[in-house]
């Protein structure tokens, strides 16, 4: 079974530029998650989709971050404009069912973003 795919793996941009990350979840997984992991910290949930609807985006900085999951499969996370404090690893995860609290999440390798 193929895992969660993410691209690019690394990205370096200047502050105030825009950047987009892509995630393709495990086939058949209804729920998709985006996390931000700052160096030395645990992952922080940014947004959770169930199919193509948003379940939780309470920690997404909506003035600069946006995410979409068209057709309920792959997803993109965008930052516009980027700030220095956005430097982090952005992790995508997916789970099989409709967002049950007991669902096991499967993580992709992440995208490491450096904002200069």
């Amino acid at each position: 079974e193929a895992g969660v795919a993410q691209s690019p793996r690394y990205k370096i941009i200047e502050k105030r530029q825009s950047v987009a990350f892509w995630c393709n979840p495990i086939s058949g997984h209804a729920t998709l998650y985006w996390y931000q992991q700052i160096l030395g910290q645990g992952p922080k949930l940014l947004i959770q989709f169930q199919n193509n609807g948003v379940v939780d985006d309470s920690q997404l900085p909506k003035d600069r971050f946006s995410a979409e999951r068209l057709k309920g499969v792959d997803s993109t996370l965008k930052i516009q404009p980027a700030k220095l404090e956005d430097s982090a690893v952005y992790l995508c995860a997916s789970s099989l069912s409709g967002g049950l609290v007991t669902d096991t999440q499967y993580f992709g390798p992440g995208t490491r973003l450096t904002v200069l």
Binding site: V4, Y33, G40, Q41, G42, P43, K44, L45, Q48, D56, S58, L91, A93, V101, T102, D103, T104, Q105, Y106, F107, G108, P109, G110
Partner: protein, 110 residues
């Protein structure tokens, strides 16, 4: 408010010795706790989770965790450490929100 704490930034153990990585929680109701491991430049890998029932949960790679409601803890354990267990370990909860602890770096010396 829901929270998870990993009180140790780093744990050092000799190969072959038992290991414990600590996790405490503050959650109302069932805490739905889990452990993940992260190797360098890789995503998180699932180890185990507590939903309900038996307080001793067995997981991947020989790891287990004990849920202790009175001490609000969910420590990760392994009877005999391997050098390959060296990695970053995260405890978390998915009760009302999905949250992770700050992580504990486990270092196993040969």
């Amino acid at each position: 408010a829901q929270s998870v704490a990993q009180p140790e930034d780093q744990v050092n153990v000799a190969e072959g010795n038992p290991l414990t990585v600590k996790c405490t929680y503050s959650v109302s109701g069932n805490p739905y706790l889990f452990w993940y491991v992260q190797y360098p430049n890789r995503g998180l890998q699932f180890l185990l989770k507590y939903i309900t029932g038996d307080n001793l949960v067995k997981g991947s790679y020989g790891f287990e965790a004990e849920f202790n409601k009175s001490q609000t803890s969910f420590h990760l354990k392994k009877p005999s450490a391997l050098v390959s267990d060296s990695a970053l370990y995260f405890c978390g909860s998915s009760a009302s929100k999905i949250i992770f602890g700050s992580g504990t770096r486990l270092s196993i010396r040969p």
